[in-house]
Symmetry: C2
Subunit: 219 residues, 2 copies
């Protein structure tokens, strides 16, 4: 049984979805059990790292048997809270908001996008892949009434904090922030950030950090 309330490091939590993805692949191939050594060769972490990571949640593995793929998949899913359903809204129905609305994979994973909101009168009243776009004025009432779990922020950086405040006031438990700015949320609200610009800039750094002669050697 998972020790759900134990304090787990962020680094471990970041690795869990990746373990889970590999377990899904193993399930597809009909593989029923895997040793930490085999898992290590597949995923690229050391066997010791894998045992240490999974140990955080209680012992899944059995000595001399390895991990049950199905069991480990279910445990990690439960730890991540993926055995539940989540109701989400998108705030900001511009290009990024539209792309997320169209990304049907979230829905399959139990994350349902219930509505989108925007301040642009040209967008309000339209549908986005079957998702209704409402006036942003209606955000708080909608989130309260529909008991929305997660607010996805896709507005510009100037209004991101105000939108976050409204979402938190209305009672969301998590915020997924795509705005190119840092926002603050109360401690009872979870916050996860996708910073596309920062990611691209880090890529540029790494490209320039690779010595030029390595490139030339391959040309």
């Amino acid at each position: 049984m998972a020790k759900k309330n134990a304090k787990i490091s962020n680094a471990v939590i970041k690795r869990l979805p990746r373990y889970r993805r590999y377990l899904i692949e193993l399930r597809k191939k009909g593989i029923e059990k895997i040793s930490s050594k085999e898992f290590s060769e597949l995923i690229g972490y050391t066997a010791s790292q894998i045992r240490q990571d999974l140990n955080n949640f209680g012992g899944f593995g059995q000595q001399g048997y390895g991990y049950s793929v199905e069991g480990l998949y279910r445990e990690i899913s439960a730890i991540l809270g993926l055995d539940k359903e989540y109701k989400m809204v998108i705030v900001g129905a511009g290009n990024l908001g539209q792309a997320i609305a169209k990304y049907t994979k979230f829905h399959k994973q139990g994350f349902k996008i219930c509505a989108a909101f925007d301040i642009n009168p040209k967008l309000v009243g339209n549908q986005l892949e079957g998702i209704q776009i409402y006036d942003q004025e209606e955000l708080v009432e909608y989130v309260e009434e529909e008991e929305i779990d997660i607010g996805i922020i896709c507005v510009n950086q100037e209004s991101a904090q105000e939108v976050a405040d409204k979402l938190c006031f209305a009672g969301v438990r998590g915020i997924w922030n795509f705005a190119i700015t840092d926002i603050e949320v109360p401690s009872h609200v979870a916050l996860e950030i996708v910073q596309l610009s920062d990611s691209l800039h880090a890529l540029a750094y790494h490209m320039n950090a690779i010595p030029k002669n390595v490139h030339n050697a391959h040309k």
Copy 2:
């Protein structure tokens, strides 16, 4: 002068784009200098952390004066390689690829999307915000001839590795991977990953890790 070839930890590199964003805000406000203490209050890292981070690249700050906003902005931009221009292609012109093509902010930052590629005959030949969609068969030739720097992978998980191989073969220096799978690239190619599903799953974990009574106390 920045020590460009020094080995900098990934954690520091991840923080640099964030420093830069705050420096842009300070510039907009006409602020010319900032102490590490003031910077700390703004950005939320400790003053000691800030001095340590920026020390990696040589001393920007002057004792008793603080950091020059403009100077630090330019140095960090140069360290990140943002004083250059980058040519990019998008592979996979589905919803995600389209959203990235529409995201004009990258262009303003010197990252130019030159072309998109897809295997879907319904998409090939169309334009995406002025970006031509070509047949994926033409990818290698285009990347070679146009000397593309970065390949953005927006294809499904089954074909992501094959696309990465082609991009690397054709000579890109960096890959920005949005596919929901891990890919491998040669050591002379930089790789940056945006794992939207992993990020959403981490959010779900954090939401469930916050004790329930905290939520109730706020209702």
